[in-house]
Structure formats: C-alpha cells, structure tokens
Symmetry: D2
Subunit: 169 residues, 4 copies
C-alpha cells in the first residue's frame, strides 16, 4: 500500500535557470514512474519547479513546509504538511524520501544532503560543481551518486530502489 516517495531538494530563491529546468524534468519523470514527489513545498526555486513538472503529467506532490500557514506554498502542491519548524524540517524531508535527489547547491541543500547521509539514505547529486563532488564523495562515498541529467538521476534511482526495496522501506 505504501507509495514510493522520491525527494527532490535544491535552492529556493537562489536556484539557477539550469537548476529549475533540471528540477522540472525530474518532477515530470518521477511522476511518470508512478512515484510520489516530495519537496520543501514553497513556491520558489527547485521545490516549485519540480512540483510543477510532476503536475504536468498529473503526479502526486507533497510539500513539507517550514511554516504554519498557506502563504508561500507552491500552487503545484497537492498535500501540504505544515511543520512550523523552519529548517529543522529538512530532516523530515530526507527521512520520508526513499531516495533523495539534490538539484543544485546551497546551504539548505547541503544540510539536506548531510542529514540524508547521516540517516543512511542514498543521495543522488545532479550536476553539482567540483567542490561539492569532492566534499560529499569523501564524506560518504558509498551513499552518494553523481549524475549529469534528470534521465540518469531516474535510472540511478531505479537501481537504488530495486535490490533493497523490501529491506529499505
């Protein structure tokens, strides 16, 4: 009965045009696979773009909001979870995702990748810079994957899900 949930994390206001494009494509592909998309739920950046991508193919979208009211929630969110706990909600984002995909980089995103690795989650980093690659590779080489486009992120997600499916969730 439990649905597979894929988390897409990335910058909000500071997302680049490439981040947004990747996020939209990720959301679309995740929904196409029949997976549920989970993001930080706000109406900006990677969260918003991924959610819009998922809705473009009629997927189901969950937003784990840092706030307690509906201002600032992405219009592409179906299910809004209001935590009212600021950035501490980042831990909920990653614990609730079967696989975490980071799309772009920033302090919030770095905290999500780190919390995911701390919680023994697998994390896919999409198109990150050399400094990020070197840092996270050294931090947790067994649980991080580096890919260059959304299609490869999905292929890697499938690989991660397939062998461990019964044990990991």
């Amino acid at each position: 009965m439990r649905k597979i949930i894929i988390g897409v994390m990335g910058p909000g206001e500071k997302a680049t045009a490439v981040d947004m494009q990747n996020a939209y494509e990720l959301g679309k592909l995740i929904a196409t696979e029949g997976w549920v998309l989970l993001t930080g739920g706000r109406n900006v950046g990677v969260m918003d773009a991924a959610s819009r991508g998922a809705k473009s193919v009629d997927g189901l979208t969950i937003g784990i909001l840092p706030c307690h009211d509906s201002q600032g929630v992405s219009e592409a969110i179906d299910i809004a979870i209001f935590t009212d706990m600021g950035n501490a909600r980042n831990n909920i984002n990653v614990l609730s995702s079967d696989v975490v995909i980071a799309c772009g980089m920033g302090a919030g995103t770095a905290s999500e990748i780190s919390l995911a690795l701390k919680g023994n989650k697998k994390v896919i980093l999409l198109s990150v810079d050399e400094e990020s690659k070197n840092f996270f590779q050294k931090l947790a080489s067994k649980n991080v994957y580096f890919v260059n486009d959304a299609e490869n992120a999905i292929a890697t997600t499938k690989e991660i899900l397939s062998p461990n499916k019964t044990s990991s969730i």
Copy 2:
C-alpha cells in the same frame, strides 16, 4: 490543487472498541467525501482503524510517524512521513489538518486537541466523556464542537469548511 486534509486523532494501544469502530467509520466517510485522511500513522488504535476505513473505499491516507523507520507503520497508510521527533510530531498533525477530529481520549490525544486549539484550528470531539467536554468547552468554546457519531462529525466538518474555506487554508 491543494487537497483538503482531515486529521483523525485518538488513542493508540489504549483505544476502546467503540473508539476503533468510530474511527473506522470516520475514515470511510472522510474518504467518501474526497478528502485526504491524516493520522499519526502507527499500526494501532484509532490511527490504524481510521486509515483502514479510508482504504476500504479507496481513499488516500497520510501518516505522520513519530519514528524514523517503517516498523510499526499501519499497512493502511499510503504516504508515510517520518518525523523522528516523537510526540512533538503531534503539532505537525494538527497544523496540517484543515479540521481535526478527536476520537477517544488519552494524554496524546489531549495534547493534539490542545495544540490544535493553540493554533486556532477547529476541533470536533466525538463521543468524549463529561470531564473532557467540560474542560475543552471552557478552554476554547468557540473552536470546539461535540458530536455523538461519525455522521455528525462529517456534517460538522462540512459546516466548518464551507464558510471559511478560502480564508482558513
């Protein structure tokens, strides 16, 4: 796009047979209305019964878990949100529900009703004892409603949702 979420709160291991029956019926009726059911997500008591009720008519069920792994999650949960924050997750349960329905009583349920009232949410109490009625009536008379069966809980939920819908969520 945002779906209406109705939270059903109540005892876990200590739920009575009547609580369980009410919860199952509530879950069923909530799903029949097209609303999403939100509970504490564990595989016991009111949480489990309400979720099973919702699934009996093919509803969508969300569980906000106190833990970080899948042991103890109700099989009737579609979307499991792992908070790993124990009873502090009770605040997320109520903030994320458009209307909260309490079914039965216990310390955890009392905390959820109280947190909901603190957050200016409307709370419906189903078949509670005199002590609970007197206490919550005095605490927040404007935001609590007392009903005696699941059908009336749903009717009251509709009343609460209808006039305030645009402003409340």
Copy 3:
C-alpha cells in the same frame, strides 16, 4: 554533575494577576532550592514572572524559545535555547524538566501538561479550576498532583524527586 531542572509552564499574554504572582513565587522558591528553572522563555506571562522570581534570588534560568531570534526573550533568561519550532517546542520543555509545574491554564499549558503525562512525567497543577482538575485527574491520576500555593508545589516537588531521583533522571 547534572543539575535538577524544574519546569514552570503557564499562559503567556493571557496570564492572570494571580498566575503571575504564583509564578514569581515559584521561580524564587525553585532557585532557592538550588534547582534550575526552565520556562518557555518569552517576555510575557508566567514564563517571564517565574524567571524574574528566580533571578531575584540569583538563580539560573533557561528559556526554550519557540522562535529563532532574540526579540521577545524575557530579560530574566540566562540561557536562551532557540528552537524555531513554534509550539512543538512544548515537548522539549517537559522532556527536559525533572518535574513540571503548571501555573494557570490555557491551550498551550494544556498541551504541555498532556505531553508531560504522555512522556510519563509527574505534573503539579497549581490553583487550577474544577474542570481542569477533573479532566487531568481522570486522564492520569497517578502522575498529577494538585496544590494551592507555591510552597506546597515545592514541597510536592521534593517528594517527587526524593525517592525516584536516581532512576528518573
């Protein structure tokens, strides 16, 4: 090395003059015993009055704040813990207190008493109304104590701490 921490919970903006007077006296007596005072840390109501009472005899005061910045922190707080998690911080308040004393009543206070009882903490209710007494008595008769003044709250705290001291903390 661990210090004994006594939590004083109660209304903020809606505290009555009697609540404030009781809270001030409680803070003073707690500090006189050499215990650390823990409150919700804001500069209003019971939190503020208890902290000022403790500082009047040079006690140590901790405030567990719902916010993330220093606006609104009581001037009588020595150690400010910023949770940025709104009312979910109420669970931290009670889990971190060896004994919880409720001084006055409101939705937030009711959530703290309930969360404390859920966490198997002992709770002393000072000068509460009949409805509160009847409700919490029925909810958890073994873990709630009712007293009528600050001196008796302290005497009861000593009784609670003495036999269980080594096992409870």
Copy 4:
C-alpha cells in the same frame, strides 16, 4: 543577563584523537572566557571531550540531546535539554549558539555547519581537510572562518562577537 553561548560541533563515535584533543582544549578555553559551552550532549566524541574540557575549569555546559532519556548523556553535562527529535535537533544547536565552532568532520557535523550558514550564523572550522575547506568556502565565504588550533578559534570567536555583539544576539 543573557549569557554568551558558544557551540562546539563535531563527530561522535568517529571522532579522531586529534578532534578529541582540539575539542577538550576548545571547551577549556571557552569556559575560561566565561562563555557557556553548548554541544550535542552525548557521552562520545567531540561533544564529550569539549564538555569535559569546560568542566576542567569549572565552566557551564549545556547538552542538546537527540533522545528523551538520560542514557548516553555525557557526565560532563550540567544542563541536559532532551529534544527527542534525533538529528533535527542539530538546528537547535546552531540557532542557540552565538558562534559555532566545528571540530572535525562527518555527515552530522556537515549538517550543523550547513544549517548554521542557512541561519546566517558565523562558523569557525578547526583543522578541516581541503575538501571541506573548498566546499564551505564556496558555499558561504563571508560566514566561514578557517583556523588551525583552538587558540585561534577563540581569537576568531572574540572578533566575531565584538563588533556585532548588540545586533547579533
């Protein structure tokens, strides 16, 4: 009245001998300055070593625990705050610290540095490797400082505190 709180973050079970030595020295120097030491509170690694260092000169130590009971709390902790929220408590650690010092590296520590930077806190990194230096330098060059020993960490902390003191806390 508010005391200055300096947070020392670092690995638990995986801390190196050098991390432990640095942490002990940091704790000692922080307490010597009259500042309060804040750590993650457990009885292992950097948390434990820093707290023991602070107690060696009779400092005040606060531990923000991920759990809800006293098993696993460092004996060098004076004030134990039980959050029962796992790694989400890392956000509280950094929000409650006037300055954050990272001593060693790991996934949990990386999350704390990242959450601190997300919350606009200044972070001092002590003796970190090149990969960490390059990553955090690029992530938030204005708010990170790199030092090679505990004495320099304290000197940098003083610089950070002095000009902004009134506005930052």
